[in-house]
Symmetry: C2
Subunit: 291 residues, 2 copies
């Protein structure tokens, strides 16, 4: 267990790439293992679980807070994305982080970005189909953060299953010297996956939102029951998502590593969906690990 | 001056990524600065100048030798690319390298590569126009090598001016923690730039080959003379390349950083050309640094 986990120490808030490198270099030379939790801020208990996992398994946790413009295909979504730096810093401290790296867009992109990482195959389906360029922006900024912080381990939530698959593949393909760790999705008591976007839901919409996790669970149960035709599983899950306030963007059964469609229910199956409730887009997934 | 420069020590030949990382980690922990010279083997005095520069300015020089399949758009060119590992290792030793990293294609690409780095703008013109996918392959493999070796400095030849611009931009855009150093082109006495491909020239073709550097020099002289219209400079240089054995692929006046066409002869001008003599493609460039 990292020493930072139980003792509440102040976190240093650092805005510059050069300074965060210097601060971490001192720590690295003393042999300390560094954990990175990349976030876009608006932190909640889901991020808390990532920071706590990092604090248990590394010696110094850095949380990056950066709302990355190049991963938003919709400028309105970028603009309305919640920004709550002061409370985020307090949250990082209480969760066990010692460094909060919060660069400006100018610090991360001092000139127009010309270099991009594409991770083919794994980026094509699910969110990749509906948010063109999104995973290119994610892969690129995560690679930048990995180069800046040079962590021993970086932590990502399983709620963003496709993002996790993209990053795992990128790190393997590009030989980035980092271990990618994943942390299970944190949920409200009624099953809704925690997300910074949940705060955009009206109370009425919030009451509807757990329908997503229920439908995914149903799909997993049908697979566990022995249903082997993905079309039947999908149809039943889509039926469970029927609601006047819900628009389904996708619901798919995928291989969790390659994010390619599962033709047959064998090995692991990722059941992943995106829905809209009013103007808010929610994603979630469950994993079936075979019999 | 690095200690490895004057004393002839045996170089370790390492084929595995894990082993080269371990060997370099020991050195890094002792505070030694690491220089990387990425090559495709078939080493000549041009590479020698890179290795010697690295040995002067870092404490341990690693030379990578890897004929990278994903940067060859022409499978025939990949197949006939010279492979001379034994003499390359001896050459590395005598030039001051201590580690030769010579991985197999299977070691570098154990599964089909899905992650690629694109460097936009700078990859579009010159060789990028005639070798589709070439710079994507170059950027991707260089990023991989930088992640594996994690050098303090990496050395590239100015003969490959566009490659140098692509790598500089990639390193800046992706915050890769390495310094990119460039080394002037090494030439034969008659001006022909050293290249592994020169060995494919017949004696008759070899006698013709210096026409390329002469034409580039002529262009630079015309700019220095005060000619400000790039079309006039190009026309005169193209006239100088007229020869029954020579086919010109391109001759362009570019900004050396952005590799975009120069509209006016101000600031630095890169005069770059590619020609074919028989089945052999030769590239070269000269830089005009303004008045």
């Amino acid at each position: 267990m990292g020493s930072s986990h139980n003792i509440l120490t102040r976190a240093s808030v650092i805005n510059s790439i050069e300074e965060v490198r210097l601060a971490l270099a001192v720590h690295r030379r003393q042999g300390g293992r560094i954990g990175l939790v990349p976030t876009m801020g608006a932190l909640h208990r889901g991020h808390g679980a990532l920071i706590e996992a990092a604090a248990r398994n590394t010696d110094l946790v850095a949380v990056s807070i950066f709302v990355n413009p190049i991963q938003f295909n919709d400028p309105g979504d970028f603009k309305q994305y919640p920004r709550t730096l002061d409370s985020d810093v307090a949250f990082c401290e209480s969760s066990g982080a010692r460094i909060v790296f919060a660069p400006s867009a100018k610090e991360m992109y001092p000139e127009p970005q010309k270099s991009f990482v594409d991770v083919e195959g794994v980026s094509e389906h699910l969110c990749g189909k509906f948010r063109p360029g999104h995973f290119r922006g994610v892969a690129t900024v995560v690679l930048k953060l990995l180069q800046i912080v040079q962590p021993d381990r970086a932590y990502f939530g399983e709620k963003d299953a496709q993002q996790l698959a993209v990053i795992r593949r990128m790190v393997r393909d590009l030989n980035v010297p980092v271990e990618i760790a994943s942390v299970p999705t944190v949920r409200e008591v009624d099953g809704l996956a925690l997300s910074s976007r949940n705060q955009h839901l009206t109370p009425g919409q919030r009451a509807v939102a757990p329908i997503l996790y229920r439908a995914l669970q149903l799909a997993r149960e049908r697979i566990a029951d022995g249903v082997r035709d993905p079309e039947i599983v999908k149809r039943e899950a889509l039926d469970a998502l029927r609601h006047p306030e819900v628009q389904v963007e996708y619901l798919e059964l995928m291989d969790p590593g390659s994010i390619q469609p599962k033709e047959r229910m064998e090995g692991s199956v990722l059941v992943a969906a995106a829905i809209w409730i009013g103007g808010t887009r929610l994603i979630d997934n469950v994993l079936w690990n075979g019999v």
